[in-house]
């Protein structure tokens, strides 16, 4: 479209889950860590893998595959923990790999289709088509909503 729109770009960190590429805004990312020992926290939903010691701060870790209902795999050399901050929460997300940082012009972001890669639309901010790549942008506030934990808990309890 017009030139002014091109300036409106967002910078995202690109990571991989199974075969898809996802993006989270760089200003929400605190750091990217290698896989390390995770202390399991009992009586929490399955996708909460536990907590790690992140430079003296106890940080909860979420298995993003599990969160989105993708089959879990063993961690390997490329597995990364992306530490993100949303509001007053700091949470680590386990991803298959963290590949890249890219700038995405706002105008190529399209609203998400109903279901992408098995993830419900409400967790997504949009989808960006870049040349041959398709980037799925996450709505972290929704993914990390603590209320979800409770809901899932109660579902599990009922089941």
């Amino acid at each position: 479209m017009s030139e002014s729109n091109l300036v409106n770009e967002i910078k995202v960190i690109v990571f991989q889950l199974k075969d898809e590429e996802y993006g989270v805004e760089v200003n929400q990312v605190r750091s990217i860590e290698r896989m390390q020992h995770i202390t399991r926290v009992p009586r929490t939903p399955d996708f909460v893998k536990g907590v790690i010691n992140l430079r003296g701060v106890v940080t909860p870790i979420i298995e993003l595959r599990n969160r989105f209902g993708i089959d879990e795999v063993e961690s390997n050399d490329s597995t990364r923990i992306i530490i993100v901050a949303v509001g007053d929460m700091e949470v680590g997300l386990i991803v298959d790999a963290a590949n890249d940082v890219v700038d995405i012009p706002n105008d190529i972001i399209e609203p998400p289709p109903e279901v992408v890669g098995g993830i419900e639309a409400e967790y997504l901010r949009g989808v960006a088509k870049m040349e041959k790549r398709l980037l799925i942008l996450l709505n972290l506030a929704k993914v990390l909503n603590p209320k979800e934990i409770k809901e899932i808990k109660s579902i599990e309890a009922n089941g």
Partner: protein, 686 residues
Amino acid sequence: MEKNQYLDMFIDESKEHLQAMNDHLLKLENSPENVAIVNEIFRSAHTLKGMAATMGFEDLASLTHIMENVLDGIRNHKISVTSEILDVVFESVDDLEAMVFSIAGGGDGRRNVTKVVSQLEKIEKGESLKEKQLKENLSSTVELNTSEQTSTTETYDDFEVTVLTQATEQGFHVNQIHISLREDCILKAARVFMVFEVLEQVGEIIKSTPTVDVLEEENFDYDFTVTLITKESSEDVKNRILKVSEIENVEVTAIDINTYKSTSSADQPKEENLPVKEDLVEEGSPNKQTVKKETNQQEKANNSASKTIRVNIERLDILMNLFEELVIDRGRLEQIARDLKSSELTETVEHMSRISGDLQNIILNMRMVPVEQVFNRFPRMVRGLAKDLKKRVNLEIIGAETELDRTVIDEIGDPLVHLLRNSIDHGVETPQQRLSVGKTEEGNITLRAYHSGNHVFIEVSDDGAGINREKVLKKAIQNGVVTKESEKSLTDRQVFELLFASGLSTADQITDVSGRGVGLDVVKNKIESLGGNVTVDSVLGEGTTFSIQLPLTLSIISVMLVEVQSEKYAIPLSSIIETAIVKDEDILAAHNQKVIDFRGSVVPLINLTDFFDVPRTRERDAYHSIVIVRKGEKMAGLVVDSFIGQQEIVLKSLGNYLTNVFAISGATILGDGQVALIVDCNALIK
């Protein structure tokens, strides 16, 4: 706008000075003739005035100024200290406090203080608030060695003459001492200091020529003159001074102040009106000595105060975090040293471990502050409250030096205020009631703090009426807190515990202070949120004791580390009774619940492997390690796989994402850098 950056400092310091004034005013009330205390108050007031003026808070500055005038009068014995005068001064300090709080709250610190101001002005002019001028029945028992009388070389101003006159009236000798140092004296100031110290032991120095400042700067030749009031004989004083080395000569001359007055052209009719309290005359040297002692202590306190700095608690937290990282790296180094089997490296790492251990203690200690910080505002509050309620209360504070973590200190103020108010209002009876039951008119409230194990106890006890069991029960039944049937089965303690139930107040009349049924339940909630608990004990007619148990710190706790399969958990030592190892056959079953017989009581077992769904990595064993924990009277046995040991750990939260994880109260980072979870025993026991 540049001022803003100083505002916080101004507010902090103002509060400190106001607190100091309050403290000293209370002391002054007990020993009204102590000039040293007045000086302290004066100093605080003066500093406050200066700061307020600089910051542009005119009202604050002007009220302080007027108060300062009164204090100056007291200091110079123009005004004698009476309860009425102190009331007005207290009131003005209250006003000052209100102003400072208004400033802290973003206000302009203005306040209508005309009443207090006019009262202060009256005092300053020497008009009595109540026409109760004390008669001057001071016999002039002037004992002076008139034979040694020579012409005085010193001249005194009005105030000094007044002081000297009073001193003579109280039986002190006034001596003028001329001291010459040896000409080869090297450290003149040091000798002067020593002489002054000697003199201050025997009496009080009223004047020195040249002034002390000049003497300290060594801006004098070899001799100086001081005026001393003392009870000692001049010969004794002289000998004492001569004990200081490098003194050439000492001349002690007694002065008859009356003669001085008549010879000096300035006549002082003023001092005839001087209202001096009767007891002032009677109090002789023993009192003087205690006064001296007090000033010494105050000087010490001042010295230590000047050596502290303010540090934001956040910085200490950051320091602690950084330190923990260091500890983790230390753990790794230890591991590497072991693997490399290098004795040099091992030695260095061991040394580092010791240093980091010391460092940890220092960092933890930095966060500890004496409860005094909270306690020091209570005497003032109790005094005011007792006056309002027309009761006579003596507050005794024991163990104010007991230290607690800063985070706890910040929180316990309000609960303690509640308890003290409660004691004054409900506990201590009116003087008439007390007399009629054969007690002294004055009620006693004791505020006591002490360490015990990993806890700090704070007790508020009074010797008042005690808690009336029947009354509490009646009220509780009325409010539906207990049923009539259960009434009989409740123990006294259980009944007293009802006081902490919300909406229950046994006060017959609702007063301003308490009786609205809020308070004790708030106290209980607050204390429990701090990880402590509060109990009450009472004997009808003899008094009530509230006892608060608090953890020493909120950030460091002692735990027992245990292994459950291959996971590590920390169990707070405060809830552990003991550990035990039991065999399969010792475990009994009752109603599908495994129990053991532990010292005569049946204790249910909780298998942490099952409870926390820990993946099984170990073979089942016929012997079980059990940690017996308690919550109040109830107990439970936690089945674990092995005990690792006792350790001090730093308490960490699980973050804002994982809130309210069941039966986990937090986490900690172990030496190897891994996170261990802390078991919340209170949640395990139902």
